[in-house]
Amino acid sequence: MRAQTIELLPSGTLTGSGETTGFPVKTGTMAVVGVDVGTEGGTTPELTVWLQVSDDGGTTWYDMPYDQAMVTSTGDTDVTADTDKRNIVDEITSGDAQHIATYKHLPADTVRLKWVISGTSPTWPVSASMVVK
């Protein structure tokens, strides 16, 4: 199957918790999600991002575990072995990094990206895309 790129979250600044709309992946069997995080703003900002899947077209959502995740920052390249295997962006307090998660299997009909932001007047420049095939 030919790879399909889905723009989950166009480049913009997030200021509060939320989620994207649902994207259909009825025939895709594997995926990689990339989340590009810029320089944060505000006081004690924190950001967590993860993938959710649905089996009923977007009514009920479930957190999706990834198989592998990696964080690439401007100063270093780091591979994380996160035990919970959910958060693509895992409670970060500073940005300027690319976060990538691989999903070797994608048994779902719809996906979306969900995020939680905390802090005082937090701002997080974020863009995210997904490649499915």
């Binding site: 009825k26 025939t27 069997t29 967590t48 899947v53 089996d55 009923d56 009920t60 479930y62 957190d63 999706m64 575990p65 198989d67 035990t83 919970d84 295997k85 959910r86 070797k104 299997h105 994608l106 048994p107 779902a108 009909d109 939680v116």
Partner: protein, 139 residues
Amino acid sequence: MSVQKASLLTTADTLVHQGVSREVDVSLLDMMALHLSDLQKLTGGSGVRMNLWAQGSMDGLTWMDLSYDLRLATDPGDSDVSADAGKKHVWESAPEGSETQAVAIFRQMPWERFRLRWKERVVAGGPGTYQATVRLVGK
């Protein structure tokens, strides 16, 4: 392959003692996930637990316990999740009912038929009754 879905358990099913769910034909699936929600213990003391796991069959007569490849559970009131260290039980009810939702992924499906099996483990204060909504999603 297009997505295939099936309901194995609903909130209309009350789980007691031990039993099995509806069977599903999975002969065309390469992989699948179980989506579990509404997980809760309805009655029973702190010493009762319900274990729920998957079984596969080639002929619909002989069933084998299956291990999942990846599992993620969500706790109520907390955005945190944990990956289960075990590989058999897609749900182990805790006395405090700490999980409300979970996903279990099975990477290969060399089976003709699929079902869930449950068995209660009573230490004290049992038996109990339990509820779970489980849907199968495969491709």
